[in-house]
C-alpha cells in the first residue's frame, strides 16, 4: 500500500469545489490520460486511464465511485478499481478529498501490481506522486 498526501488550490469557493469533485465527468479527465467511458450512476462510472511510459503506454480499465461523502464537512472518498488492459496488473486506490475554502487536501491510498509495480516501489511512488501533483494542478482549472 502506497499512501501519499497532497494539497490543491482552485481559488474557488468550497461549495463550487465540492460540486466539482463529485462530478465524475469533470474530475476523471483531470488525471492525465483519464476519461469516463460510461456513467453507471450519478456517483459511479466506468473509466479508463492511459499512462504513457515513454515508448509504450499502459492502459487501465475499471471503475471510479464515490463511496463516502460528508456533505457537511465536505469530505469524500473516491474508490478506483482498475485492471491493466492486456495484462495481469491492477491499480486500485481510495482517494480522500477534504475540502476547505479555495482548495483542499487529498490523501491517496493506492495498491498497484503488475508491470507498473515491476519498476520497484521507489520508482512507482515517484511516478504516482508526480501523477497526483499533475492532477492537483489540473484541478485548479476545474
Amino acid at each position: 500500500m502506497v499512501e501519499l498526501d497532497h494539497s490543491f488550490s482552485t481559488g474557488k469557493d468550497e461549495a463550487y469545489n465540492w460540486e466539482a469533485i463529485l462530478d465524475l465527468d469533470r474530475i476523471v479527465p483531470c488525471v492525465e490520460g483519464g476519461r469516463v467511458v460510461e456513467r453507471t450512476s450519478p456517483e459511479a462510472a466506468k473509466a479508463e486511464i492511459k499512462v504513457r511510459m515513454g515508448a509504450m503506454s499502459l492502459t487501465f480499465n475499471g471503475t471510479v465511485e464515490v463511496v463516502e461523502r460528508d456533505d457537511t464537512a465536505h469530505r469524500a472518498v473516491l474508490r478506483i478499481k482498475s485492471k491493466e488492459k492486456s495484462g495481469q496488473g491492477h491499480a486500485n486506490a481510495d482517494v480522500t478529498f477534504d475540502l476547505d475554502d479555495g482548495g483542499g487536501k487529498i490523501h491517496t491510498a493506492a495498491q498497484i501490481s503488475g508491470k507498473a509495480a515491476s519498476m520497484g516501489e521507489g520508482v512507482m511512488v515517484t511516478v504516482l506522486d508526480a501523477l497526483i501533483t499533475d492532477f492537483t494542478q489540473r484541478l485548479a482549472g476545474i
Binding site: E32, M53, G54, S118, V123, V127, A130
Partner: protein, 173 residues
C-alpha cells in the same frame, strides 16, 4: 566527390533514458534510413552530411518493464516526427578537416531545425571503412528532450550519432 548513403553503411542515433522512472523506459538504437554523405580527403578535405528527419526507424530497444511491440515502435517514430525533429532539416558541413594517418578530425556546422552550431568529432578510416561518432546535446539545438510519466522519465539530453560505412576506397583522396 565520393558520395555515401544507406547502401554503403549505417547512420545510427543511440538514445539513453534518465530520470527517476528511467527503469520504465528503453534505450534505443535508431537508424537513419535516408541520408547522404560526402568525404573528400584530397588537397581540400571536406565532409558533408544530409539526413531525412522523417526516415528514423527504431532498430533496437533495451530495458523497460516490457518489450516494445510494433505499435510502440510506430508510436516512437511518430513522436520523433511530431514532437522532436518535426521534419526539420538535418545538415552538416565541415569547416576544417585534419587527416592524421587513419584519424580524420572534423569540425563543422550542424544544422538541426532552425538552429545551427558547431560540433567536432573524429572519424577512423581503416581499409576503406569509415567509422566514428559524435555526441549531440539536443538542447544546444533548441530541441526539448522527450519526457513522459510527468517528467520522471526522460530521454537523456545527449545522444550519440554514429556512422559506419564502407567507402569502397572512394575516399582515399
Amino acid at each position: 566527390m565520393p558520395t555515401l548513403g544507406p547502401g554503403d553503411g549505417t547512420l545510427t542515433v543511440r538514445t539513453q533514458r534518465t530520470g527517476a522512472a528511467a527503469k520504465a523506459g528503453h534505450d534505443l538504437v535508431i537508424e537513419v534510413t535516408s541520408w547522404q554523405a560526402t568525404l573528400e580527403l584530397g588537397d581540400s578535405p571536406s565532409v558533408t552530411l544530409t539526413a531525412d528527419p522523417r526516415s528514423l526507424k527504431v532498430r533496437e530497444a533495451t530495458g523497460g518493464v516490457k518489450s516494445l511491440g510494433d505499435d510502440d515502435i510506430a508510436n516512437i517514430e511518430q513522436t520523433i516526427d511530431d514532437e522532436v525533429l518535426k521534419g526539420a532539416p538535418i545538415e552538416f558541413r565541415s569547416i576544417s578537416v585534419a587527416v592524421d594517418g587513419e584519424r580524420v578530425s572534423v569540425r563543422g556546422e550542424l544544422q538541426l531545425g532552425a538552429r545551427s552550431r558547431q560540433i567536432s568529432f573524429d572519424l577512423l578510416l581503416v581499409g576503406g571503412r569509415l567509422a566514428g561518432s559524435a555526441v549531440v546535446k539536443q538542447t544546444d539545438w533548441g530541441i526539448k528532450p522527450y519526457s513522459a510519466l510527468f517528467g520522471t522519465l526522460k530521454v537523456a539530453d545527449e545522444v550519440r550519432v554514429s556512422i559506419d560505412a564502407d567507402t569502397g576506397g572512394q575516399a582515399d583522396g
